[in-house]
Subunit: 346 residues, 2 copies
Amino acid sequence: MVRVAVMGATGAVGREMLLTLEQRHFPYSSIKLLASERSAGTTLLFDGAMRPVELLTEKSFDDVDIVLASAGASVSKQFAPIAAKAGAVVIDNTSAFRMDPDVPLVVPEVNAEAAQGHNGIIANPNCSTIQMVVALAPLHHAAGIKRIVVSTYQATSGAGASAMAEMAAQSKAQLNGEPLPPAKKFRYTMAFNCLPQIDVFLDNGYTKEEMKMINETHKILDPEIRVTATTVRVPVFRGHSESVNIETKKKLTVADAQAILAKAPGCVVLDDPANGIYPMPIYAEGRDATYIGRIREDDTVANGLNLWIVSDNLRKGAALNAVQIAELLLERGWLKPSAEVQTTEG
Amino acid sequence: MVRVAVMGATGAVGREMLLTLEQRHFPYSSIKLLASERSAGTTLLFDGAMRPVELLTEKSFDDVDIVLASAGASVSKQFAPIAAKAGAVVIDNTSAFRMDPDVPLVVPEVNAEAAQGHNGIIANPNCSTIQMVVALAPLHHAAGIKRIVVSTYQATSGAGASAMAEMAAQSKAQLNGEPLPPAKKFRYTMAFNCLPQIDVFLDNGYTKEEMKMINETHKILDPEIRVTATTVRVPVFRGHSESVNIETKKKLTVADAQAILAKAPGCVVLDDPANGIYPMPIYAEGRDATYIGRIREDDTVANGLNLWIVSDNLRKGAALNAVQIAELLLERGWLKPSAEVQTTEG
């Protein structure tokens, strides 16, 4: 039984973390809901009781074992080291520490062992990366992926609850023939539009989101895999979809890939096109799995495959993966930082 | 001055054809609006006058020089040969004759010369193919495209006016917390969803839409280019977007590609990410150009480039391309079938 804190509890991901902890009967002894001044003082339902949301301060972590953090990268940068110093393990859903060589970046189905090496902070990968590596790791282990070309169809909930509200308000206005509320969370109108920009642009013309998919896949799965990405926001509330083209070293038939993924942890194959069976974001909402379908051989290259990968970005893409890391730490007895373990050993 | 008929005048593409003819001051001497029993008898505004929609019959073409056809493949299969026999040239927006070796498949910016060889029928390519080849032909001519990996983000208007209405009604119901109208035009709910199926599935697991992009690109541009496609319907009313990854024989820098496309017919480069400039479907609505942006080098392969290509699927993807073919026939004096021209010559 551990003492848990959720940092950013009132956000879209924070609330999904609470729901996930509850639904998976996470063995907590106490739970602390933390938020900034804007949201502190409200209450949230968790595990049968309305609970107060406390103001996040430097003193918040003195009686906490695990912190699930999703209050933005700058908040994590400030408070995660404080929490770790106070003896907690921070499972951080922001991008603050993902590429830090001293911080494990973990998807339990893919690289659970990496979590053991933590020093009080473990990073949760970017939502688009998580579902892609859950689906591709089993194929990589079977056949060796050489190259990935991915185009994403990302839901607005990835930008938070206010982004979903902005799209809803714009959509409603347009359908009613009223003036559209201005874009605030997004750079342009999101309603009935596609925005080929997620996060900021870097000097190489790629967005930070695209580089996250590339760099995080290297860190989690294999630095040898060549990855190129185009990430696009689409007018969907929840559930990211990905069109993924891969080249493998060894040949995989469609039947091979289906059989491998049918047995793979966290994966559900929905791939019977003759009967209209394929993954779609609205059906993935609130569910745990990564759904894979439209598996086709791509004969334009040696050992090519196309896949369509869908998962709930708030769930496996954020909250669930973080809770699974917490479960992993408990199951394996990895709560203590590896440095302390090493000290004890010698 | 020619006598024009529009077959399927009341549909989403038919109405866009009328608008395009009017806006481009197409030199018609008479115009005939044709439709099936369901729509005949109504009136449509064209060039300053309300005009009756006549019932399509086998006698409809006796006083017509050019037929713009967009009433479905089965209607074209039945009536296009009748119209051609009656001496008209049919510019057919359906898939009925596109892969027929005796029927030219034409995008005027790409393969205008092919139109000359018609025998009374010229096919207008699939909307997704048109905007892709408009943008890629200039790059192919400059550097030789070896392989294309394309993922599409296609608007619901590609499935017709009733498909747009279905998505609007579902979206409105969802936003108002009411029960959603059932899916009829689409296999599943389209509102706030992505459907990785456009047209029917073939035995190889690809959809007909995906194979159209492959086969039509071969016929229009170059059969040597290897193409693989994933086509997806997204909750956008108008404007198809495409995430395109290409490999070329010769190296093209981003600046090379931008310079080539800036001068290319039908292309507009919107590619200044630092200032948030990139193509988006809602801004392409009702416009003629194919917009290209997000041009990035892809260093995971020799001479790789990523591009984001957007165009109005009802406009350049259908109506405009058909009208441009009609204009081409007039300009070059290619109204008569090539067989007749040959007979005259010897």
